[in-house]
Symmetry: C2
Subunit: 234 residues, 2 copies
């Protein structure tokens, strides 16, 4: 019978409106793919299936719409193509020069983990970031950062979970705890590096994965031949 898949994100949003105390809550690392149950509908003309907007595992399924339910938002990323980008990771102090993490041709990835983020999400993100054909080579051909080959600059960006609330304010809730976010971010960087090192093309080209730092003011400069911004959710 047709069923309505209740978006787990909606449930999370409703939860946000209540006064849930999450302090001291340990992240759940066992359930990487929380699914809600389909809700049976009465006989009627309407049959709705939710196709997850960003589902990198689509390729593994012959009939994804039928076997996958919607998933909770675990991470949000904004990707920008760049010809050069750098982020200050250590300010000029005690006579020493400031230190920058810098890349040339490639992409900057702003990353934010939600409170639902589990350990294995980082593999999925890394895999998607490195192998999805995000870059326009010409009008008809697109390439992944591994195919280019290009570098990657990962920047923690908790503001990506911000939402407008009344009185023209923004609310930055729903992010995971900083210690866990820092851990996930670190795992993500490692996995991206492994994927890069596994590519002969990339090793030869000498491209790299660089990173910004959590909880620190990060001065930043980005230049690109053409802005190309993509939103990917996990």
């Amino acid at each position: 019978p047709p069923g309505v898949w209740i978006l787990s994100e909606e449930i999370r949003d409703i939860g946000d409106l209540g006064a849930r105390d999450l302090s001291g809550r340990q992240p759940d690392t066992t359930n990487s793919c929380r699914r809600t149950e389909p809700l049976p509908l009465p006989d009627g003309p309407v049959s709705i299936l939710h196709f997850p907007r960003n589902s990198p595992t689509h390729t593994q399924l012959s009939s994804p719409a039928l076997c996958r339910g919607p998933r909770t938002l675990q991470a949000r990323t904004v990707i920008q193509q760049c010809s050069q980008a750098k982020v200050k990771i250590r300010p000029a102090l005690d006579g020493a020069e400031a230190q920058w993490a810098e890349i040339q041709e490639g992409m900057v990835v702003y990353v934010c983990f939600s409170r639902e983020a589990t350990e294995n999400i980082t593999d999925e993100i890394a895999n998607t970031l490195m192998t999805t054909k995000l870059f326009r080579k010409d009008t008809r051909h697109w390439a992944s950062v591994l195919e280019l080959p290009g570098s990657v600059l990962l920047v923690p960006q908790d503001s990506l979970l911000g939402e407008p609330v009344p009185k023209r304010k923004m609310q930055f809730k729903g992010g995971c705890e900083p210690w866990w976010g820092a851990q996930l971010f670190s795992n993500l960087v490692s996995t991206c590096r492994e994927l890069l090192q596994g590519s002969v093309k990339c090793t030869r080209a000498g491209v790299k994965v660089e990173q910004g730092v959590y909880g620190q003011k990060q001065e930043m400069v980005l230049s690109c031949a053409e802005p190309l911004t993509v939103l990917l959710e996990f």
Copy 2:
């Protein structure tokens, strides 16, 4: 009785999977806020209401969850705080120097309109962009671009509607037709300018609204004291 609000976005997604021919379709400028009907549910323990994630009109309603249905995505914006940003709007040609649209302190806004975008959405976007407290002044205080006062650089960015599809490809469908997107973008720039000119603080500070151009390679440079990226959907 409790009802399930079917996300109109889901319906749009399903439409995307079919072979809808949209060529020659005129944009619908009469229906700015398409709502789907609530679907009655059988008696049961589950009652779901969808709270729109980004709804700038929340403030006008005493009980938004009860009187508002979900809305179709009309536009997606990614906003980045900047200390300086510029986009090349005319390349160096025939001995003349290249021309840049440039701002200092303020924000860069990447904008993309969906095929559901209607004429009056630009007022809502402009109003939200200019008056929402998006900027961190210090750890506890946030300000809008009008309050700062800051400048705005609007950049057309159709890639924002990109979605991953099988075989590691991206699909850039769902955007409105270029002529209509260019028109909406132009309206958005005008409305932002009007709001800026209506602010004594901004007029005195000499801040401005600049813009990139549609359908042209736009070289770009952005620098910021601290990256702050926000996603706003309309």
